[in-house]
Symmetry: C2
Subunit: 367 residues, 2 copies
Amino acid sequence: MSFPVLSVSRRTRRTPFTNLVEAAGVKGYTVYNHMLLPTFFDSVEADYRHLKSNVQVWDVACERQVEIQGPDAAKLVQMLTPRALSRIKIGQCLYTPMVDEEGGMLNDPLTIKLADDRYWVSIADSDLLLWVKGLALGFGLAVQITEPDVSPLAVQGPKADDLAARVFGDAVRNIRFFRSAWLPFQGQDFLVARSGYSKQGGFEIYVEGAEWGEPIWDALFAAGGDLDVRAGCPNLIERTEAALLSYGNDMTREHTPDECGLEKFCDAASACVGHAALQARRADGLGRQIRSLAIDGDPVPTVTQPWPIFGAGKPAGQVTSAAWSPDFQTNVGIGMIDRAHWHAGAAVEIETPAGMRTATIKAGPFI
Amino acid sequence: MSFPVLSVSRRTRRTPFTNLVEAAGVKGYTVYNHMLLPTFFDSVEADYRHLKSNVQVWDVACERQVEIQGPDAAKLVQMLTPRALSRIKIGQCLYTPMVDEEGGMLNDPLTIKLADDRYWVSIADSDLLLWVKGLALGFGLAVQITEPDVSPLAVQGPKADDLAARVFGDAVRNIRFFRSAWLPFQGQDFLVARSGYSKQGGFEIYVEGAEWGEPIWDALFAAGGDLDVRAGCPNLIERTEAALLSYGNDMTREHTPDECGLEKFCDAASACVGHAALQARRADGLGRQIRSLAIDGDPVPTVTQPWPIFGAGKPAGQVTSAAWSPDFQTNVGIGMIDRAHWHAGAAVEIETPAGMRTATIKAGPFI
């Protein structure tokens, strides 16, 4: 039963863009941070094709912000992540694995420094705000923690620069990867960052003030007719090809950043609450790590529970995301693989709902 | 667009009962604590009629447990809630509003005392575990905080005692309201509590060990054929008639327990992190509070965003849940009403997606 009905309520929050998403013909949603996140418009495969060749506007308002403001803001943000933030500049975005005191992943947000004493943490699907509030209270830190009225709207695809420039001016072209600028729209400045949950390039506009959602969306569509701009959303095929991890799918509190292949974002910030645990676990040696896989055979169904992986007949990990890739003419997958089998080219077997499949570990993402 | 498709993934976790729920013909889901929660089987109205006259088995595995264990467990649990827990007995369940340091509602779980140093907090839809972990770490408490492999299964309806007795023995009949007992099933003891998210009576079985999910479900159905036992789920109509609040729908972090009508569960536990704020806000006087309403006219649509309430033409609150009640032949609702209009019998107007409606404030729940 891949496509049951979603019963909506106030608890599955609508976004400033939901009316427009519906008008654009959204066909599926998931719930992410207690909010509606579109999953496809035409079909996942048609959306994928369009994303790779044109430009899409995505309602990713569910990437809620945890705003941390106050004299202890920088201190607290550094407690959250093993990534050293000492050199982060105002306007810079950093991908920041966030861990608990045991080194388990709690979220993998982008952290944006707005001012020396003010940060936005743009979260994946867990109530990170509660963790941050608990720490702040327990450690007696001088900060205010809020969920501001900020709803990211992504512009993604190879024509994203052209579209964004028509609405926010050519200054967008000068924004470097994971940097941002405050750019004017109808007299109001908005934070525009070169980032997004695809490998096709583009921006995330931090729409501050729900009342701006429809004007900005409408302006993008009015400007992009000749670019074939369409409503889109994070695409399962493209993000699996790119090995863009999904918190709750590919990693959970069970996993360390090292196991998630995020060791380069753990540059030994000793102030992180998970630092000691991560160092100790690292010293014990890594027993499993995330890898991309090519899964043989016909298109596989959606992963709704981890699929066991076997190497030489013995348990060797699990697959947590998979999809048929039209471009690579194979099933692409993401899985957590035991050390003995994680080397590129290793042949494994996967127990899928469609039967046992042979698969090959890849050296890196498909794209 | 009331019924879009839900795109499932590992992140929208299946439960130990999902296979059986699907076999029973589930037609809709919501996502609750990152897990699938059925919303209707036949229709919301047919399910309601059956719930009120027979017995249903509900997959409420999404009521995840936050287990708090260790020397400081009792201390920490008391920090979470304004309800005084000094007299809670082992095996007792207490409805416990949980608040932050500003007195804002974070969750409204049942707290069950399993031992002097071990509690289960059976949560509504927010990652309360992160708050609890943050506090424990920040305050340096000696506790372990986990999400155990425990999946509640509810037996609800007027025939619930008869059905549960056939599977767990007549001892279930002696369990008082909000008390529990460990009762055997195929040689294993399970915690069975007289509780549940309906006013029709019944139990919640804390199924510890996912492998027990299908055997217990199957035993209930095998035993209850002549009772017309059916798969069911929390019912929007019945719970709105009963004014059983839904966290995220009827109350959020914006609201205090007093505003939610939960003042009787705030008996001045000064160790609660929100105690001082709640006392201060109480001293300022209560400006709004939750009330039941009868909304005139034809059946209203589902509430997906709060509906503004007007009294004498001026803003007077918002409706957050509503449904047509076949038994009361009116729309029943739950809303947060300003003081000037919260008295029983007050006439207000509500801006619904189906137009302006007249409504009347009720003295209490419909059932």
